[in-house]
Subunit: 372 residues, 2 copies
Amino acid sequence: MPEDSALLVAANVNVFYSTGRFFRGYVWIPRHGRPLYFVVKPQTFEPSPDVVCIRKPEQIPGEMDRLGVETPRLIGLEEDVLSYNDVSRLMKVFPQAEFFNSTPCLRAARMTKTAHELELMRYDGQRQVAVYSRIASLYRPGMTDIGLQIAIEGELRREGCLGFPRVAGNLMEINMGSVLAGDNADNPSPYEFAMGGAGADPSLPGGADGREIRPGESVMVDMNGSFNAYQTDMTRVWSLGGLPEIAYKAHDCSRSILRALEREALPGVEVCDLYFRAVRMAEEAGLKDFFMGHSQQSAFIGHGVGIELNEQPPVAPRCKVSLQQDMTLALEPKFVIPGVGAVGVENTYAVRGDGLECLTPFEEEIILFNQE
Amino acid sequence: MPEDSALLVAANVNVFYSTGRFFRGYVWIPRHGRPLYFVVKPQTFEPSPDVVCIRKPEQIPGEMDRLGVETPRLIGLEEDVLSYNDVSRLMKVFPQAEFFNSTPCLRAARMTKTAHELELMRYDGQRQVAVYSRIASLYRPGMTDIGLQIAIEGELRREGCLGFPRVAGNLMEINMGSVLAGDNADNPSPYEFAMGGAGADPSLPGGADGREIRPGESVMVDMNGSFNAYQTDMTRVWSLGGLPEIAYKAHDCSRSILRALEREALPGVEVCDLYFRAVRMAEEAGLKDFFMGHSQQSAFIGHGVGIELNEQPPVAPRCKVSLQQDMTLALEPKFVIPGVGAVGVENTYAVRGDGLECLTPFEEEIILFNQE
């Protein structure tokens, strides 16, 4: 952030990140000095000289004059997130200023977590693991993928999940997560999720499509772990009895990839190298055609995670970001085996000095559903 | 839409509205002639001369040249929805063109529904009513508001609800809906919902806050009705035994307002007149201080509803839109009574030539929870 500059923050996720709460309005974050809160509905605030009630952003410069706050030369606006008209309006509010896109620096700041944020994410992981440990016993004969998903949703919610996976961008729409049974995993997604699935309705393409869970097919569960402002992302696989050998081979390859990345993902390593390492291991196992999808393959194996499900950085071939201590990543090397379904493991990790700390520790074998 | 113009549509909701599916890419809708589909992930499409595979929007003009499609002088972009950078990038793609904001015309088009859309919304209403008819029996002694909400979510999902209430704008965040017990209804919302509620966590402020359901307090249920691309919006009130007299008085006033609006909301009537009529009736009943909230009052009594929960028009004092046949509206005249909670009824309606058709017909009394 340049010397003579300030950020004017308005997107929900960044308002929360910079203040610990959601409100309608703007956070003014100067390079030096104290932040100001311009609030449209101040009823949710305790009175404070830093909280200024406004009806519209055009009042901000006048209020800043009144408070003796100078307008800097450069103002950062969230140009990748706020609408064209919202940003254009804010630019007119400050006719003398120049502007820069604050989205990259806010996203970069959110990549690494404070001790408090990490504690919240560890809590998320513990709760998510507690729910996943009950999934085998949720199965009932004749159950569909949607039926299983609904049962998991209830368990998650009773465990304290807020039921709202906050995602970045307008290319991701999802309810509480994804359950993929059998070949539905090979239905391509129009969104940027690692896996696809036809979904229950064309209006929400992705995930479970209502098919019955059958022997010989895998059931991949990738459900929401948001028990506070943060979330963990976690995938495990279940089945009714045994699966074809290649499914176990691919699943073991996913686990081997995670073991390698857990050792090698040290501060300073470039994120793209994690991607290339995973691809190489899938190739060496002869599983390249099934890696990260089959009829449509995704070109990433993970992503940052935090307040939003899909934070920076993407673990993808062109991502030159260097890993930093306390960055959090969801790593999800997955395979889609035609006629069987999706296999593989996803964990959420924190980058530590000596490798990755797993925030979602839980058995990683393909788990058998209870059948009594 | 001017003669020499076209829309370039990219927002999910409008892509779905104009094509009946979601995909990553752009829909080109010329004033005359056939639309073109520029698709980033074409695997989800059947091959067709109108479907053009692109990697990035900069390829669109070249592909249009190849197809012999002329670029019009004026191009409409979704300036209220797409990000500043997305719109700026599209503007650079067509350096010779002028641009207009297509959001208002797309939102206006979506206000009135075709026969097919109305059928989908009637289906939503039937399913939502079926679930609401079971709510009284979901109550268990000692239940919290969140516990009741989770039970309703399960019923909704088993009835076919997709569990994803699509909302417009970035000032609304919600899970599957809102259950407000007792005084929690008076906790103000930072969002643009009619009612507030503290929510279960500061990161999702709104709705149930985990309090036990108690005698003498109302429980307002306003849960999601999206069983396809469309949705209905519906609120009813339950209680454990009787409530103070003023709660019934306010609840009856809400029903009287709906009865009046059902007769008077004819094609040609200005939407703001519905709002003023409702406010007048609340005032005449001596209930003005409790109308649409108490410690924070909302200045609207309803909204359009369809693919998004909060479509145009808002039923608000400054809305000069005239009602048209087959417009759909959720009307929700509600009251917050201190010490008791929220009361009132919300129905989703279609505007017909002779008044409103209720898409969510269900008993409107305050309903007693089953206690055995």
